[in-house]
């Protein structure tokens, strides 16, 4: 099985929206698995953002 970046495949997937059977499985590559249920879906990026 090839490991493909999710975002790239997602773009391909747009044309398959009604294509039929759907089944896939993703692996979290960077974040700690189930790190916390507070900081949701990715830690707060360390870089600053403009206020």
């Amino acid at each position: 099985m090839s490991r493909v970046k999710a975002t790239k495949v997602e773009k391909k997937g747009n044309s398959r929206e009604k294509a039929g059977i759907v089944s896939f499985h993703l692996r979290c590559a960077k974040t700690a698995n189930g790190l916390t249920h507070f900081v949701m879906y990715g830690d707060v990026p360390r870089k600053k953002m403009p206020l």
Binding site: M1, S2, R3, V4, K5, A6, T7, V9, E10, G13, N14, R16, E17, K18, G20, I21, V22, S23, F24, H25, L26, R27, C28, A29, K30, T31, A32, N33, G34, L35, T36, H37, F38, V39, M40, Y41, G42, D43, V44, P45, R46, K48, M49, L51
Partner: protein, 489 residues
């Protein structure tokens, strides 16, 4: 840690077997689990492997779901020419991935390390929410940590995680942590290089200069706000002066101005259940990136009368998710319904889940724990009213000992396999049957989830969203960037 060396998880054969291995006898969960594993490895290996199969579930007239409930291999199958056809290739994929998915699920359930500590630096609160899981006598007259005590706690946490590769998350949580703002800000200043921080607050004491501080140290912040209208919000988010937190919470959200570490936590009750979509619209306008629309926990008796009708709640949440997707599509700025995103993650990437309530055993006393103001270590803050679940006091003992304590083992031993109805439910590893503290409060930890029907509706809807290719609107953008496909069909 639960349990020792890695072994492949074999599904439990029956409730009776659990009883036979002594798994249902009170607080002997860890011992019972080891016995159970031994038992299974002797008796069940080949038989279960050969017998286990996919379940087929009707999602609606046009879609069928094929699902292995044990490892969450899933596939949504459309009706074609009036029939549902399961191609040979999909079965081959299932056979090929089954072992890997079994292992992944087993490890996630039993070998995930502690990675988050909730600290309640004060028992007191300036609010009086009717559904609070902390009994009112504790909130009125409870203790508060001193700066020195908090520093001792931080040192013990650092010691525990010394050899861990990933930074743990420290969340300052209930009652209202900003009542001791000085000491928690001081702790963040001192330890931000070694730990990640979060604060959960009702915002009543938040000041503009605090926002600068929170952003500077990249602290995750959750603000409690139940509804987009003052009258509805203030019925449940009541302050001790009999007002509510609406004005202060909205002001704080505006001050944060789209900060990536902000989320809004809303407790869904019968008061606000009909207003969830409006709430999403309101928060999207205020640039809030994540909102959690969590069912009220009925751990304490007064909360029970606020429980919304489950089907009404399911319909309303679906409406809120549809609204969030539409707004995200139209504006290009995301708002994610966090608890629904967690259901999506549970299906497509179970180990990437962020909320650890909907996995069995839950994360309480396993991937997170709570330290109360007097130093008691509890599996979860939800147990604050039940001090018999204390795994020891951090000022007298260690986190290691608390993790090995009987109460912690008892919570880890509560698994869907031992809960009637859940043990045969196809969605048992998606909802996880929360929550042990809530069910303990209701008289029996081994009762099924209070919101069982709600979860079933929501999970079916989640599969339909996946079938329709909507995942990109449902998870935070950076969550998708961090994931890779292991397989796809």
């Amino acid at each position: 840690m639960l349990p020792g060396p890695f072994k492949r998880f074999k599904p439990f054969k029956s409730f009776r077997q659990l009883k036979r291995v002594g798994f249902l006898s009170g607080l002997n969960g860890l011992n019972g689990l080891n016995k159970l594993k031994h038992y299974q490895s002797r008796r069940e290996t080949s038989m279960r492997e050969n017998q286990r199969n996919l379940s087929f579930i009707d999602l609606d007239a046009g879609w069928k779901l094929a699902l292995d409930p044990e490892n969450l291999f899933w596939s949504v199958i459309p009706k074609e020419d009036g029939r549902f056809l399961l191609p040979e290739g999909l079965i081959d994929l299932y056979k090929r991935e089954k072992r890997h998915l079994d292992e992944e699920m087993y490890n996630f359930r039993f070998n995930e390390p502690l990675n988050c500590i909730y600290i309640d630096p004060t028992d007191r609160c300036n609010a009086n929410c009717p559904y609070c899981y902390i009994p009112s006598d504790i909130r009125k007259g409870g203790t508060q940590m001193t700066g020195e005590q908090l520093d001792t706690v931080m040192q013990k946490i650092i010691e525990y995680f010394r050899d861990f590769k990933k930074k743990p998350v420290i969340v300052f949580h209930a009652a209202e942590p900003l009542l001791v703002k000085d000491i928690i800000f001081d702790a963040i200043r001192r330890y931000h290089r070694r730990l990640l921080f979060g604060i959960q607050t009702n915002a009543l004491l938040l000041q503009k200069e605090d926002i600068e501080f929170i952003k500077k140290y990249r602290v995750g912040v959750g603000i409690s706000l139940d509804a987009p209208e003052v009258d509805i919000n203030n019925r449940s988010r009541t302050t001790t002066r009999r007002n509510g937190n609406y004005e202060k919470a909205v002001q704080a959200i505006e001050w944060f101005n789209g900060y990536e570490g902000l989320n809004v936590i809303s407790t869904v009750t019968k008061y606000n259940v009909h207003h969830l979509a409006d709430h999403v619209k309101f928060l999207h306008k205020k640039k809030v990136p994540v909102v959690l629309l969590n069912p009220v926990r009925v751990t304490q008796k007064p909360a029970l009368r606020l429980k919304p009708d489950e089907r009404v709640f399911a319909r309303s949440l679906i409406d809120a998710v549809e609204t969030a997707m539409r707004l995200t599509r139209e504006s290009g700025r995301q708002i994610v319904v966090g608890n629904f995103a967690n259901v999506i993650l549970a299906i497509v990437s179970p180990t990437a889940r962020r909320m650890m309530c909907d996995i069995s055993p839950c994360g309480g006393g396993r991937t997170f724990l709570t330290i109360t103001a007097n130093g008691d270590m509890l599996p979860c803050g939800e147990f604050t009213g039940f001090r018999e679940f204390s795994g020891g006091n951090i000022f007298k003992t260690s986190i290691e000992k608390a993790m090995r304590s009987k109460p912690f083992r008892a919570v880890r031993a509560r698994m869907v396999e031992k809960i009637e109805e859940c043990n045969t439910c196809d969605y048992r590893h998606i909802c996880g049957s929360p929550c042990p503290a809530e069910m303990y409060g209701r008289g029996n930890m081994y009762r099924k989830a209070e919101f069982c029907e709600f979860y079933k509706e929501i999970i079916k809807y989640a599969f339909k969203c996946l079938a329709e290719g909507k995942i990109k609107y449902l998870l935070r953008k950076d969550a998708m960037d961090q994931m890779v496909f292991e397989y796809r069909y």
